[in-house]
C-alpha cells in the first residue's frame, strides 16, 4: 500500500456529507472495491479533496470508488466503482 500524500484525506473527512446523503453514519460502513475486491471501512478510504468533486479511492489498487459533486444544493453521487457498500 502506497503512503498517501499530505493533501489526501480519509473517509472520516466526508462523514458529514455521507450522513446527510445516507441518513446514517457511513464511516463504519464496509465498501468492497469493484476493481480489486479489497474490503475496507469507508473511514479508511483515500479521499481527494474537492476540486470539481470529491473523489474516493481504494487504498489497495487506487481505483475510483465514489465521486460526489455538489451544485446548487444538489449532490450527484456516483458509486459505480464499488461492488457493494454495507452499513455496519
Amino acid at each position: 500500500m502506497e503512503a498517501l500524500e499530505d493533501s489526501v484525506l480519509d473517509g472520516n473527512a466526508i462523514g458529514g456529507l455521507l450522513m446527510s446523503l445516507f441518513g446514517t453514519d457511513m464511516t463504519t460502513a464496509t465498501g468492497i472495491c469493484g476493481s480489486c475486491g479489497a474490503a475496507s471501512q469507508v473511514a479508511e478510504l483515500a479521499v481527494y479533496p474537492p476540486g470539481l468533486g470529491t473523489v474516493v479511492r481504494c487504498r489497495s489498487c487506487t481505483a475510483v470508488l465514489m465521486v460526489f459533486v455538489e451544485l446548487r444544493g444538489i449532490t450527484c453521487v456516483d458509486l459505480e466503482g464499488l461492488a457493494s457498500l454495507s452499513p455496519a
Binding site: A3, D10, N12, M19, S20, G23, T24, T28, E44
Partner: protein, 246 residues
C-alpha cells in the same frame, strides 16, 4: 433517539459561541452552545458552515475537543492561507453565531468497553479528538493504561499543555518536539520514527488499541510503524487531516 427524530437526520443548526480559550498563539478553543445537541462520543467531529454576505459558503470539519456529556467544543489552528480558520480564531467573539451539524463519525471513537491498553498518537492539532478521549476516560474514572505520544514543533505549540502536565491515573504523556526544544530538554527531539514507536508503544502482545490522528504523512508513518510492530490493522484507528482542511 427512537421516537424523537428521524434516525441519523443531520441538519444544520445555529450554535452560539460561548467561552473562547487561547491554547497557543495559533490555536484557540471555542465552546459552543447548541440548543438541540444530540450528545457526542469521544473522537467524533462536527461540520461548520460559514456564509459570506454574497452567499458564498465554506464548510470545514473539526474534531470535537470536549468529552461526552460536556457541551461541544472545537479547537482550531489558524492557517495563514486558510479560508475559515482565520475567521474562527481571530474574528469570532463569545455570543456570535455559526452554523454547525453533528455529531459525525462512528469509526474514530473510543468508549470504556473498547478497553485498551490505549496508545494515542498525535501530530500537532491531531491531539484534539484524543483529548476528548482522555477527558472522557478521566470523567469516567477509567484507569485503562494509556500512553499519549504527542509530536509538536515546539513546547509553545503543545495544545492543552496545562491539562496534559497533570495526567490522570494510568496516563503517561510523551512529547517529541521536532523543530525547537527548550534548554535542558531531555525528551524526544525528532519526528516519530520506528525506534521511538518501539520504545513508547505498548508491545503488540498486550493487544493494545491505537488511535492515530494528525497530518496525513504523520498518520501514514505511525500507522505503518505500528503494523510493523505487530499491531493488527483493525486495532489501529486512523484519522488524517490535510494542511488545508483544518
Amino acid at each position: 433517539m427512537e421516537g424523537t427524530a428521524v434516525r441519523g437526520r443531520l441538519t444544520w443548526q445555529t450554535a452560539m459561541v460561548g467561552s473562547v480559550t487561547d491554547e497557543t498563539p495559533q490555536v484557540r478553543t471555542l465552546m459552543l452552545d447548541v440548543p438541540d445537541w444530540a450528545g457526542h462520543r469521544a473522537g467524533q467531529h462536527l461540520d461548520i458552515r460559514l456564509t459570506a454576505e454574497d452567499g458564498y459558503q465554506a464548510e470545514r470539519s473539526y474534531s470535537i475537543a470536549s468529552a461526552p456529556g460536556e457541551p461541544p467544543a472545537i479547537t482550531v489552528e489558524r492557517l495563514d492561507d486558510g479560508e475559515v480558520s482565520p475567521y474562527l480564531t481571530e474574528e469570532l467573539r463569545p455570543g456570535d453565531e455559526i452554523e454547525v451539524r453533528g455529531p459525525i463519525g462512528g469509526y474514530f471513537v473510543w468508549d470504556a468497553p473498547d478497553g485498551g491498553p490505549l496508545l494515542l498518537a498525535a501530530g500537532g492539532s491531531g491531539v484534539v479528538p484524543l483529548r476528548s478521549i482522555l477527558r472522557h476516560r478521566a470523567r469516567l474514572g477509567d484507569t485503562v493504561p494509556t500512553r499519549l505520544l504527542y509530536s509538536s514543533r515546539s513546547l509553545m505549540d503543545v495544545i492543552y499543555r496545562s491539562e496534559l502536565d497533570v495526567p490522570a491515573d494510568g496516563l503517561a504523556v510523551c512529547y517529541t518536539l521536532t523543530r525547537s526544544q527548550p534548554a535542558g530538554w531531555t525528551g524526544y527531539a525528532r519526528r516519530v520514527d520506528q525506534p521511538m514507536l518501539a520504545e513508547v508503544a505498548w508491545p503488540a502482545a498486550q493487544a493494545p488499541l491505537a488511535y492515530v490522528c494528525g497530518p496525513t504523512s504523520f498518520v501514514e508513518a505511525v500507522a505503518a510503524g505500528l503494523v510493523a510492530l505487530g499491531y493488527p490493522e483493525q486495532r489501529v484507528k486512523t484519522e488524517r487531516f490535510g494542511a488545508t482542511g483544518s
